[in-house]
């Protein structure tokens, strides 16, 4: 059996990789993938904790978050398409009409 500390460690690592991706990468599609990575890191932690505790609440919550991530991706991609239509770019540093 894999100890919880390792599951949590992996989850934390994935979360940090995702966060770094959001901060460093300029391509909006990669940024969205990084956000998904962060959400799934949280899912991993939830499932790991649920196994240690022996209850299903954490697993149920993980399912909920999968649905939530899908909804978020749908809205996010729609916004990226809308940006692409008006600006012809998917690079975050080229979208700078605001903030004068």
């Amino acid at each position: 059996m894999v100890p919880t500390s390792q599951v949590l460690g992996l989850a934390a690592l994935l979360f940090c990789i995702g966060l770094a991706g959001v901060i460093v990468r300029r391509n909006l599609l990669i940024v969205m993938m990084s956000v998904e990575l962060m959400l799934n890191a949280a899912n991993l932690a939830l499932v790991g904790f649920a196994r240690v505790r022996g209850d299903l609440e954490g697993q149920g919550l993980a399912f909920l978050i999968v649905a939530l991530a899908a909804a978020e991706a749908a809205v996010g991609l729609a916004i990226v398409v809308s940006v692409f239509r008006s600006r012809r770019t998917v690079y975050a540093d080229e979208v700078t009409l605001l903030r004068r």
């Binding site: 919880t4 949590l8 989850a11 979360f15 995702g18 966060l19 959001v22 909006l28 940024v31 969205m32 956000v35 962060m38 959400l39 890191a41 949280a42 899912n43 932690a45 939830l46 790991g48 904790f49 240690v52 505790r53 209850d55 609440e57 954490g58 919550l61 909920l64 978050i65 939530l68 909804a71 978020e72 809205v75 996010g76 729609a78 916004i79 990226v80 809308s82 940006v83 239509r85 008006s86 600006r87 975050a92 979208v95 700078t96 009409l97 605001l98 903030r99």
Partner: protein, 491 residues
């Protein structure tokens, strides 16, 4: 968490169910219409007013003690119902002005009102939630609908850009919230607030619990724009359609603070979690001081009125946070915060209503020069705008003055907060300068051209209602204050 859902539980949650059902109904109607423009505003307004009636009905039904629902997942108490009424009021004012605004700026209303109602239902769930799971669902329902509303202005590049910035930062905040919930669940095994309160009191010093708390509170702080997490506010507020900006400044803020208040007052209320090295009190003190000061300083330098109001909303979040801290120190003192949120919502909705009124399709007219000489051509609206500005600045006899006075007086009862109140008062004095800038432009400068504003009945109805509310809260605060005093959390 076993057993079926009782009729009584559904009745106690009637306002939320009405709004959610109505959002689905609106979506269905616009789908059946097959692309024709329907002007669904009046129908949306009916739904909101129906929900408001349900709030009044439930106020008696749930009584002073509140009613726990669904085995502790949610609750219907007078605190939540007061905020429900605030949210529905803000939603109604937004709907009133949206119809004319959508027509003028030429974007279709097929999903707009449905999204608006969905956002409000998410906010209502947020204030009713007594479980981290419900908090998560409410926050996401609200956020996803608001992202879409911000991006709704098809063909305007800044709208999509604003939505993009808000979405990316908001999605990261959501990820932090989810991870925080996972950590709290891992340490305590609880997601319900009541179970969490007991488990968290025992695990007070644990680093993982603290990290989880910081993540969850941070995500809520992002939504209400507490200072290091306010970077999205000016861009999102400026790029969004103006009625949506009003909704974000009034309702999103109120719902976020409602959730924050409930979480701090019920789950993280153990001594070890409030005071000392592991407590939230000292960081919140610093954040409140930073939020009001930086918000005000940034607002001083804004060339655009919409952007100025965005930074002013940051500053007001700082004042409200002061009230939240006071409520944390003295449990049960929620009325000053609730009254403040109501008065701020009325004034900021009114001010952004005037911004929406003056803008036309070819020109949004956001700079101070665009407002020059407005008082000569439109004295009544200029006077209304002056009242809204005075209320935001906290000058009598407006609601803003009374709300600030009441909030600061409640905070002054605690010696730890005296310095913070002094900072807040100094900030209010500074804010008078930028709130008077549009007033000076309207009354004392000469305009080049006569402005042709958006003269439509819905717009004037909205401005009139907001004005009446601001003056009512200032001149006759007794009744709403009495409601706020009765708006207690369920035990």
């Amino acid at each position: 968490m076993t057993g079926g859902v009782g009729m009584g539980e559904l009745q106690a949650l009637a306002p939320l169910l009405v709004v959610t059902g109505w959002a689905a109904l609106l979506l269905l109607v616009s789908a059946l219409a097959g692309g024709r423009s329907l002007r669904l505003g009046p129908l949306a307004l009916c739904g909101l007013l129906l929900a408001l009636a349900a709030v009044v009905w439930d106020w008696r039904l749930v009584g002073a003690g509140g009613q726990v629902l669904f085995g502790g997942l949610a609750v219907s108490d007078r605190f939540a119902l007061f905020l429900d009424a605030l949210l529905l009021l803000a939603g109604s004012l937004t709907v009133l002005i949206s119809g004319a605004y959508l027509d003028e700026h030429g974007f279709a209303d097929d999903a707009y009102f449905s999204l608006l109602l969905l956002a409000i239902s998410g906010m209502m769930l947020l204030v009713h939630a007594t479980s981290l799971v419900m908090l998560l669902i409410g926050l996401e329902t609200m956020s996803l609908a608001i992202y879409a509303l911000v991006a709704f202005w098809v063909g305007k590049a800044t709208s999509a850009e604003a939505a993009l910035k808000y979405f990316v930062m908001g999605a990261v905040a959501s990820a932090f919230l989810v991870f925080g919930v996972a950590l709290i669940y891992g340490v305590t095994g609880a997601t319900g607030y009541r179970a969490l309160a007991e488990a968290a009191a025992q695990a007070a010093g644990q680093p993982l619990l603290l990290l989880g708390m910081v993540f969850v509170l941070g995500a809520l702080a992002f939504k209400v724009a507490i200072v290091p997490l306010h970077m999205w506010v000016p861009d999102a507020y400026e790029g969004a359609p103006t009625p949506v900006t009003g909704l974000m400044a009034s309702a999103v803020k109120a719902a976020g603070f409602g959730a924050l208040l409930r979480l701090l007052a019920t789950s993280f209320a153990a001594d070890g979690l409030v005071y000392g090295s592991t407590g939230w009190l000292n960081p919140c003190w610093t954040l409140a001081a930073l939020t009001m000061s930086l918000g005000n300083l940034a607002a001083l330098r804004q060339p655009s009125i919409k952007r100025m109001l965005a930074y002013s909303s940051v500053a007001h979040a700082g004042y409200v946070l002061l009230g939240v801290i006071a409520a944390g120190l003295h449990p049960g003192q929620l009325a000053p915060v609730l009254f403040y949120l109501l008065s701020y919502a009325a004034a900021t909705l009114g001010a952004l209503g005037v911004v929406a009124w003056i803008g036309r399709r070819e020109a949004e007219r956001l700079t101070f020069e665009d407002w020059a000489g407005l008082a000569r051509h439109h004295p009544v609206v200029a006077l209304a705008m002056t009242v809204f500005m005075l209320s935001l600045a906290g000058v009598p006899p407006t609601g803003g003055f009374f709300a600030k006075f009441y909030l600061f007086r409640a905070a002054l009862r605690d010696p730890q907060l005296v310095t913070l109140v002094v900072i807040a008062v100094l900030n209010s004095v500074v804010s008078v300068y930028y709130y008077l800038r549009p007033v000076v432009a309207m009354y004392f400068q000469d305009g080049v051209a006569q402005p042709q504003p958006l003269a439509r009945p819905g717009v004037y109805a909205m401005l009139g209602l907001a004005l009446a509310l601001v003056l009512l809260l200032g001149l006759l605060p007794g009744v709403p204050l009495d409601w706020a005093l009765h708006a207690q959390l369920a035990r």
